[in-house]
């Protein structure tokens, strides 16, 4: 039978996983909430960040955490270029077009990575981060604590950026009422570009963490994008703190499904929840607030 400690441990592992889920999906949710673009290349930006961190570690022994800013920057550049070259030109056409466009970009990037870095699966391993710590029979690793802290820092950092800084406020009001923002003198097209780039940066932060906690490969992006999607809908478009809660619900739900039912129903839990939320409460758990 399952012991009580195991249930607690499982619960905790789900929460940890959930917080990281929130980080992985932050960029997608942000771009969807602000620019109204569902960025299907989100996962590929994330994977790019992961590869940057991996190569820095392998080539120069740079600690992947120190590589975070560079990884984020590169993903940001990728997002910036994608927006300037492609998305900007069809910003005003139908939602479907931007969807197909970003899907195409995703295919392009994933295959580019395949050509550049082969199909090998990469794991960013740092020994001291993998050391377990034990509290009353419950185990966590240094890396887990660290990645949770980073995730929380990024989520709250973004939240404060949006509510406190001038640029953040401009991004926020543009999301709420685009015309009103333009009439207040905000260059809304610039805001779109900035927001999309930030989305890329956020994705780029997730990559190294994904590489540390799990692994990266050229094709890993799509799975992340789909997960990010589920979370965005679960949280409700535009709710950034809501993402944290939604991430935990998903992470814990998956973990407990495994503990009490069976591992093969883990994914089913996520999608069933997704459909249920869509049908019962399409605005998500935390509605539309920024």
């Amino acid at each position: 039978m399952i012991s009580a400690t195991s249930v607690v441990q499982s619960l905790l592992s789900g929460m940890a996983e959930g917080v990281n889920y929130s980080l992985y999906c932050l960029g997608l949710a942000f771009v969807f909430g602000i620019v109204r673009i569902i960025n299907l290349a989100h996962g590929e930006f994330l994977v790019l960040g992961g590869y940057i961190a991996y190569w820095l570690l392998v080539k120069w022994g740079v600690n992947p955490l120190l590589a975070l800013p560079l990884a984020a920057a590169m993903a940001g550049v990728a997002a910036f270029v994608s927006y300037r070259v492609f998305l900007q030109r069809i910003r005003t056409s139908s939602e479907l077009n931007t969807l197909i466009l970003t899907f195409g970009l995703g295919i392009f990037l994933a295959n580019l990575y395949l050509q550049l870095w082969t199909a090998d699966i990469r794991n960013i391993g740092v020994d001291w981060m993998e050391q377990p710590l034990s509290f009353f029979g419950i185990y966590v690793s240094v890396g887990e604590i660290l990645t949770i802290l980073i995730s929380l820092a990024v989520v709250f950092g973004l939240y404060f950026f949006l509510t406190r800084s001038r640029t953040g406020m401009a991004i926020r009001v543009t999301a709420i009422d685009r015309d009103a923002a333009a009439l207040a003198g905000i260059n809304v097209e610039r805001v779109d570009l900035v927001a999309f780039t930030i989305g890329g940066l956020l994705a780029g932060v997730g990559g190294p963490l994904l590489g540390m906690l799990a692994h990266i490969s050229p094709g890993a992006g799509l799975h992340i994008t789909v997960k990010a999607f589920i979370l965005t809908v679960l949280a409700g478009v535009g709710s950034i703190p809501g993402l944290l809660v939604a991430g935990m619900i998903l992470g814990v739900g998956e973990a407990l499904t495994v503990t009490f039912i069976n591992a093969s129903y883990r994914e089913l839990f996520g999608f069933a929840l997704f459909i249920a939320i869509l049908v019962i409460r399409p605005s998500g758990l935390f509605g539309r607030r920024l």
Partner: protein
């Protein structure tokens, strides 16, 4: 001048060109089995794309999860044929029926949702179906998949025996036939009063309800017909490839590529998705693969992006679409 070109590429002309092309293609390819089989895939995709476009282009409800109906159709037929000895021809029909029924399960709750949310609900449904196929091992063999699915039995017309096991060409013409059947269903549906209602719903739910359209029923019919056609194609796929696993039957390919093909060909023309499917397949097969055997998908992704940005109405979209508006003026 403008009017002349407009008159030249009417929906009907475009339809005739594509029909002629499809019929002549095996001759153009000198019955080369490889290319024929490539275009069998293209036509399966084309048919699904036409069906998808009934929902999206005509009725305005975009789905991201047609793989659900494709997979349901494929599994229905495969299970009936391999486990209970049904005739594969009956399997095609059953695949359609179950595809349609499946669409109602998700459609009834999902019709309250709009735009991307509706699309996402269907996507979720496709994933759930895939996971069920994976876990209901007693029915679907789980991840091992169903192998050795019977091909369509040979047809005997007088002394002529049409075989579907070895020949790709016969399969090609069967799928061409199915595709035109799907096209005709969609074509006549759009011409009917229901089609008008769908166009009204495409514009706006409330306006449509305001002029007396039963919005729910209209959407349900569009989805069911679309899913039924997709289910039939799925069933055909099962007997053509003769192997099914949850990953192949519910592959995201069947959700995404119909959208891509439709956008590529143009959503405002009924024949657009078909043309799109053929052109995409052709480009990928004859152009990109020649340049770059292992990296051809890279071009494919780039091409998608380029087309969407610089030719957003698709190949046939603009002309045929504008024409119907021009008529009224």
């Amino acid at each position: 001048m403008g009017n002349l070109t407009r008159a030249f590429v009417s929906e009907r002309t475009a339809g005739c060109i594509v029909t002629g092309f499809v019929l002549a293609l095996p001759f153009l390819l000198s019955f080369n089995p490889y290319y024929t089989s490539v275009f069998v895939s293209a036509l399966i995709l084309g048919a699904v794309a036409i069906a998808w476009n009934l929902l999206a282009g005509v009725c305005g409800q975009v789905s991201f999860g047609h793989a659900a109906f494709f997979g349901i159709g494929a599994y229905t037929s495969a299970v009936l044929v391999t486990k209970w000895g049904f005739s594969p021809y009956l399997g095609l029909v059953a695949g359609g029926v179950f595809g349609g029924l499946g669409s109602l399960i998700i459609g009834i709750p999902a019709f309250r949702l709009r735009g991307p949310y509706f699309a996402l609900a269907i996507l979720g449904f496709a994933e759930v179906m895939k996971l069920l196929a994976l876990n209901l091992t007693w029915l679907t063999e789980g991840s091992l998949g169903i192998m050795n699915i019977a091909p369509l039995p040979p047809l005997e017309v007088g002394s002529l025996k049409i075989d579907f096991y070895a020949s790709r060409t016969t399969n090609y013409y069967v799928v061409a036939l199915l595709m035109f059947a799907v096209y005709l269903v969609v074509y006549f549906l759009r011409r009917s009063n229901l089609g008008l209602a769908m166009s009204a719903v495409h514009g706006d739910d409330e306006t449509a309800a305001g002029i007396g359209v039963n919005v729910f029923r209209t959407k349900a019919i569009a989805l069911t017909v679309s899913a039924t056609c997709t289910g039939v194609m799925g069933a055909f796929y099962a007997h053509y490839v003769r192997f099914l696993s949850p990953d192949t039957a519910f592959d995201g390919y069947w959700s995404v590529m119909p959208i891509v093909a439709s956008l590529f060909g143009g959503m405002s023309a009924l024949i657009g998705p078909m043309a799109g499917a053929l052109v995409i397949t052709g480009l990928d097969e004859f152009v990109f693969k020649r340049f770059f055997e292992t990296g051809h998908k890279l071009f494919f992704g780039l091409l998608l992006a380029v087309v969407i940005v610089w030719a957003p109405t698709g190949l046939l979209g603009n002309r045929v679409g504008k024409r119907s508006e021009g008529d009224k003026r």
